[in-house]
């Protein structure tokens, strides 16, 4: 194998490089259709769409890094949205908006803590716990909403989506702060190092005196909190809260985490890869809309998302097989 090919292989091994290439290709493709794709307003809209996924992916990524998984965030989001609607809608309890937001944040964190407690103290595998919660939380939210949409949301909530700081929508700010905080935890704090250590080897972590319980409680609680945050920034975009909110969201998040290069076995993965995967997955629908193919665009979104997932996994497998040959493991 010549040197150039080798270097290319090394580059391809970096998941971030692959994803960046795919994102770049997609942008180029859309721009070729219509240069208005690159307009400031459009790019901002795409980022706004990315925000909730990016926020929750920060939490789920840390869960996966410790070797666990959380597939309940979609239903949690639905429950939290229902709670928000019931507390502040003028048709219902009509509490002040800030009180509703506070309750949502507290409740989200509490559910996360409960998940973590079931996993660590209950010794139930997280895939089972969150699979149960996926159904249970969806059920509770259906009970609360009675199968109907909640409307008559106070104007204070809607303005949340309109206000911006320095011209940037609040949801993007929330995502940026979450990303910065998560990045800081990962690279600068003992906590982050211990999360990776725990996922890398549970056995060694015990010998190093790390508290498995506390670390896992943290990642699930963090995910719960971030799901609440994502709910708060996402709900105000729409005039009402729909019964089907958050359906499939948990799989989108887990997909982004895995496509972003986080090892499902724990211990490995970078935030940058996850964020690029979020952008790639979210971009597909706006791009299809831009191609102006009407109904068909909607229908193709999932198929193309699926194709990207398989592509990312396939490249990874081929490249790692190529580079493993002839070099020491």
């Amino acid at each position: 194998m010549n040197r150039h090919l080798n270097n290319l292989m090394m580059l391809l091994r970096q998941r971030e490089f692959c994803l960046l290439t795919l994102v770049g290709a997609t942008v180029a493709f859309a721009t070729a259709f219509d240069s208005a794709f690159l307009a400031f307003g459009n790019l901002r809209d795409i980022l706004v769409r990315c925000a909730p996924t990016a926020i929750v992916a920060c939490g789920v990524m840390l869960v996966v890094v410790t070797g666990e998984i959380d597939i309940s965030v979609g239903s949690l989001m639905a429950l939290l949205a229902a709670i928000l609607g019931v507390t502040i809608s003028t048709n219902e309890w009509a509490w002040p908006t800030w009180a509703g937001l506070l309750i949502v944040l507290t409740f989200g964190t509490a559910v996360g803590l409960l998940t973590g407690a079931l996993v660590t103290f209950g010794r139930v595998p997280s895939i089972i716990v969150t699979l149960g919660l996926l159904t249970a939380l969806r059920g509770i939210s259906t009970l609360i909403m009675g199968g109907e949409n909640i409307d008559r949301l106070p104007p204070g909530l809607e303005s949340l989506s309109k206000v911006g700081i320095l011209g940037v929508p609040i949801s993007i700010w929330a995502a940026a702060v979450t990303v910065a905080l998560t990045a800081a935890i990962i690279s600068w704090t003992p906590l982050g190092r211990r999360l990776y250590a725990l996922g890398s080897s549970l056995h060694s972590a015990r010998f190093a005196g790390l508290s498995e319980h506390r670390l896992k409680l943290f990642v699930f609680a963090y995910t719960g909190f971030l799901t609440a945050l994502a709910t708060i920034v996402d709900v105000p975009r729409l005039p009402k809260i729909e019964a089907g909110i958050g359906v499939g969201f948990e799989l989108l998040v887990v997909t982004c985490v895995v496509v972003g290069g986080v090892s499902i076995a724990g211990g490995r993965g970078r935030l940058a890869g996850v964020l690029l995967a979020v952008v790639l997955m979210t971009m597909i629908r706006p791009v299809l809309t831009f191609m102006d193919i009407g109904e068909a665009g909607e229908k193709w979104t999932k198929a193309i998302q699926g194709m990207f997932i398989l592509l990312a996994v396939l490249i990874d497998s081929i490249v790692s097989r190529q580079t493993r040959r002839g070099t020491p493991p």
Binding site: A197, R206, T327
Partner: protein, 505 residues
């Protein structure tokens, strides 16, 4: 002030009703190296885990500097001044060397909030330098060779300011050079007043390094005495409770290589090994010696078809084995007992029976179904031959001692009646009694005509069993020795790269 740093009083510990430790009492003095000896299952690891806060005793107490201490966790033990290097790998494969050194006891700034990465890096390099290692501290540990990973674990243990350092088989995967450096460091620490509790199956190290030795047998304390008052045979007798013969020279067969079984010609894999040529005859043991990293296991893996190679030729019984074809190698009658038996040799959660029959399933299959009666007969025969208790047949392989696990891996290959067997470090981490049994097994097999390629860092073992010995150095064959006349010194001389002489102490 007494001279006693630690007093262990009447320790009891049992797991599910089975005694691991019974009434164990002894002292550790300040600034001594105390060896802890005993067969696998004697209770050494349990004792060490209690001393380092991983386990809590059922009864009994530990006095540290005449005060009773209770270690509920590792942190409590470390805070008191007890650090441990455990036998099982306790490193993190996905973290780099710096993070491995400090995870759980990070150096922080900004009031404990942020990592002080520069300081941690500096201290890591310093600790590794003391061990004479230059390691790339930026890459994840899984990208480093096994020995370097082990050195990082050692660096972690010795870098904390401890009063008692417990080392459980620290040299198990180290080369001769690294072992020498480590033992020098152990003596340095002792001279600085640190007490060291040292566990090793390599009795040479015990006599070379320890001041006193404590022997455990079946969970009970046998003796603690000056090492000078013992000799090797006596120590082994205390450990085993009966006389065990040291490996004696095997009667070597006649012109064995007239009937070559394994033939390796000009085998080359760039960056790993080059132009490896040798044959192993019927009823012959060929030893493969060399330092850790010299390419011994890599050659074995290439012959067996696990790894690819660039050029060369391998044949078994005149039958060419295509590169990378493990199934062709097995079909031609070759077996491999790998170095890492837990991961590569056994399927730990599966039962003893399922492990033994795993490589023979094809022969046991009738109409796509496993003939369980025939399987049972095969496994029973193997278990008996291997001297493993038959009551264990349905137990999972994970519950077996290291010695029994190793016998199981060998048994797996014997079950499919191989013509040739590669043994990679067959007695590493195996206690004295089981080691003798494994040696006996190898002898019996060779007498029946099995061609054996033996890789071992245990030079007395290699010399006792091999007809011929090839010494590898940096991926090349540095020389061939006659097993009957070769000496340890000759092997080491060939194994060391030019002008690199081991640090003599």
């Amino acid at each position: 002030m007494t001279n006693r740093l630690v007093q262990i009083r009447d320790l009891h510990k049992s797991f599910a009703g089975v005694h691991a430790l019974r009434d164990v009492s002894f002292d550790i003095r300040r600034g001594e190296v105390q060896a802890l000896c005993g067969e696998n299952g004697a209770g050494k690891s349990t004792l060490i885990k209690i001393l380092s806060g991983v386990l809590e005793p059922d009864e009994g107490e530990i006095l540290f500097e005449d005060r009773v201490v209770e270690f509920h966790n590792v942190h409590a033990a470390e805070a008191t001044g007890v650090a441990a290097l455990h036998q099982e790998a306790t490193t993190f494969p996905d973290l780099n060397a710096v993070d491995n050194m400090f995870v759980g006891r990070e150096i922080t700034r900004a009031g404990g909030l942020l990592l002080d990465r520069a300081e941690m890096r500096r201290k890591t390099l310093e600790a590794l330098e003391r061990l004479g290692e230059t390691i790339n501290v930026a890459v994840p540990l899984r990208e480093l060779p096994l020995a370097q990973r082990q050195m990082v674990g050692i660096a972690r243990a010795v870098s904390c300011d401890c009063r008692l350092l417990i080392m459980d088989e620290p040299t198990a995967s180290l080369s001769a050079r690294e072992t020498t450096i480590l033992l020098t460091l152990v003596r340095q620490l002792r001279d600085q007043g640190v007490s060291i509790l040292y566990v090793s199956h390599r009795l040479e190290e015990v006599f070379e390094t320890a001041d006193r030795v404590t022997v455990l047998r079946d969970g009970e304390h046998v003796t603690t005495q000056d090492v000078n008052t013992l000799d090797k045979e006596e120590l082994i007798r205390l450990m085993v409770g009966r006389d065990v013969k040291q490996p004696t020279r095997r009667e070597t067969g006649s012109s064995a290589s007239d009937d070559p079984v394994i033939e390796v010609q000009e085998l080359t894999c760039r960056g790993r090994f080059e132009r490896i040529t040798f044959t192993v005859g019927r009823g012959e043991v060929v030893g493969l010696a060399g330092l850790v990293g010299a390419g011994r296991s890599e050659v074995a893996r290439a012959i067996f078809g696990i790894d690819h190679y660039d050029s060369g030729h391998v044949s078994i019984h005149g039958q060419t084995i295509p590169p990378g074809s493990t199934s062709a190698a097995i079909k031609a009658g070759l077996g491999l007992v790998p170095e890492d038996r837990q991961h590569e040799g056994l399927v730990l959660p599966m039962s003893v029976r399922d492990n033994v029959s795993l490589a023979s399933l094809q022969a046991l299959t009738r109409a796509s179904l496993i003939d369980t009666r025939q399987e049972r007969a095969l496994v029973d025969a193997q278990i008996e031959q291997l001297d493993v208790r038959t009551s264990l047949i349905h137990a999972s392989a994970a519950t077996l001692s290291g010695g029994n696990q190793q016998k199981l891996v060998i048994g797996k290959w014997l079950a499919c009646d191989p013509k040739a067997l590669i043994l990679d470090e067959p007695t590493r981490g195996v206690d004295v009694g089981a080691k003798a049994q494994v040696h006996g097994l190898i002898r019996r097999l060779v007498e029946r005509g099995l061609a054996t390629l033996l890789i071992s860092s245990d030079l007395p073992e290699l010399l006792a069993l091999s007809d011929r010995i090839f010494v590898l150095c940096e991926g090349r064959i540095a020389g061939e020795l006659d097993g009957a006349t070769a000496t340890q010194a000759q092997i080491l001389e060939l194994a060391l790269p030019d002008r690199r002489v081991p640090a003599v102490t």
